[in-house]
């Protein structure tokens, strides 16, 4: 863990302690600080904004109830991500994991806010992630997107490190074989690469 991550975790722990004492301001601070990364994480599971908000609120509802029982066995971010992952899977079971049609407003927003380059990058990533299973998408997001270690991901997904390694390996191999094609590159390179 680098210094920034250590500082950030100390702040998160302090917020959790205040939450355990019933401090709603601390809840608001933690909520806002994690909202962005949880949103992005959950978009790997579903495209429905209402479900994403529901999962985030379920996650913080649990965090509010259990703030006093957090013993610091892991970083707060790992703990919260684990709760969000389980709430997300539950929501998928309830709502189905079919990515529903995007909200038209969201299309407009993306079009106006995203640079062309970003939009192209998103499309490229989206098409690649479509080829992965839910668990593979989650591992890719946690490692590349959030920056968690294998041990962290094992805690979040409540599975052995070996399982995480296997999911990451298979996800990377799949992406390695499809992403160059999706970007219009020659797939020839994948045959020569490791």
């Amino acid at each position: 863990m680098n210094d920034d991550a250590t500082d950030s975790d100390a702040t998160d722990r302090m917020l959790l302690q205040r939450m355990a004492a019933g401090d709603r301001v601390a809840l608001g601070v933690l909520y806002r600080s994690y909202h962005g990364r949880l949103c992005r994480f959950l978009t790997r599971l579903t495209r429905r904004a209402d479900v994403i908000e529901e999962v985030i609120n379920d996650c913080f509802w649990i965090a509010w109830q259990k703030a006093g029982t957090f013993h610091g066995d892991s970083r707060v971010s790992t703990w919260l991500m684990g709760i969000a992952y389980r709430c997300g899977l539950k929501a998928l079971r309830q709502h189905g994991d079919e990515p529903v049609e995007d909200d038209p407003r969201h299309e407009e927003r993306s079009a106006t806010h995203d640079l062309d380059e970003d939009r192209e990058l998103r499309d490229w990533l989206g098409k690649g992630l479509e080829r992965l299973s839910v668990d593979q998408r989650v591992v890719i997001e946690l490692v590349y997107g959030v920056g968690h270690t294998l041990d962290d991901v094992a805690v979040i997904m409540q599975c052995p490190v070996g399982t995480v390694k296997a999911r990451l390996f298979h996800a990377r191999v799949k992406l390695r074989n499809v992403l160059p094609t999706l970007a219009g590159d020659s797939p020839k390179r994948t045959e020569n690469a490791p």
Partner: protein, 212 residues
């Protein structure tokens, strides 16, 4: 899976290390080793560039609009709703009405208890009714079963009972038998029995066997 198993050992090692070097969790030595490998391996360089692009794409903010303020507002409202039923009983002391109701219930319970004890002490020995399955009541001590002649007048019968200080406790039954018993402790059953047997108009006078 098309991962090439015939790749060089260094390339496989480099491939495994890439995500950790990119996210900064690898050691400095590992980072330096990868850098030196990439400098001499074109295919790993291309792969690293691809991985970096993947990481860049994954670090873009979510493109599904979810408003944090609205979400937080809903969460706080949910907490309010959940807190409300718990907070109310804690914050409000019991009203006088609740106390009065509790007192009334206690008084009722006490009254029922006293009544029960009183009824029990009365023995319940002589209920005002008999059921068909009940045995016949035990005869009073000194009871005598008497069958007067049918021709005996009521006045004679009454006079006889009065003279012997007897009173009818049951009867007449189907065969015209009465059960009589001494009206007071002063009169003895034995004396009355002898008098009855000697009286004209009395067909039968037998002591009732008292069951133990």
């Amino acid at each position: 899976m098309t991962f090439p198993m015939d790749s060089g050992k260094d390339c496989v090692h480099a491939w495994e290390m890439m995500p950790w070097v990119m996210q900064g969790s690898a050691t400095q030595e590992q980072g330096a080793w990868l850098e030196s490998h990439l400098a001499q391996c074109e295919s790993c360089r291309a792969e690293f560039a691809q991985q970096s692009r993947l990481r860049l794409a994954l670090s873009l903010p979510a493109d599904v609009p979810v408003n944090a303020d609205v979400g937080l507002g809903r969460l706080l409202a949910r907490l309010d709703t959940a807190d409300a039923p718990e907070a109310r009983p804690r914050s409000r002391p019991p009203s006088w009405l609740s106390r009065a109701l509790v007192a009334a219930v206690l008084v009722q319970a006490l009254g029922i208890g006293v009544l029960g004890v009183k009824l029990w002490s009365m023995g319940g020995g002589n209920p005002a009714y008999r059921t068909l399955s009940q045995e016949t009541l035990p005869a009073a001590p000194g009871a005598i079963r008497v069958v007067p002649d049918a021709s005996m007048t009521l006045a004679d019968w009454s006079a006889l009972l009065h003279a012997l200080r007897l009173q009818v406790v049951s009867g007449p039954n189907d065969v015209g038998a009465y059960t009589v018993a001494p009206a007071s402790s002063a009169s003895t059953a034995q004396h009355a029995l002898q008098q009855l047997r000697t009286t004209r108009g009395i067909l039968l006078a037998e002591p009732v066997a008292v069951t133990p």
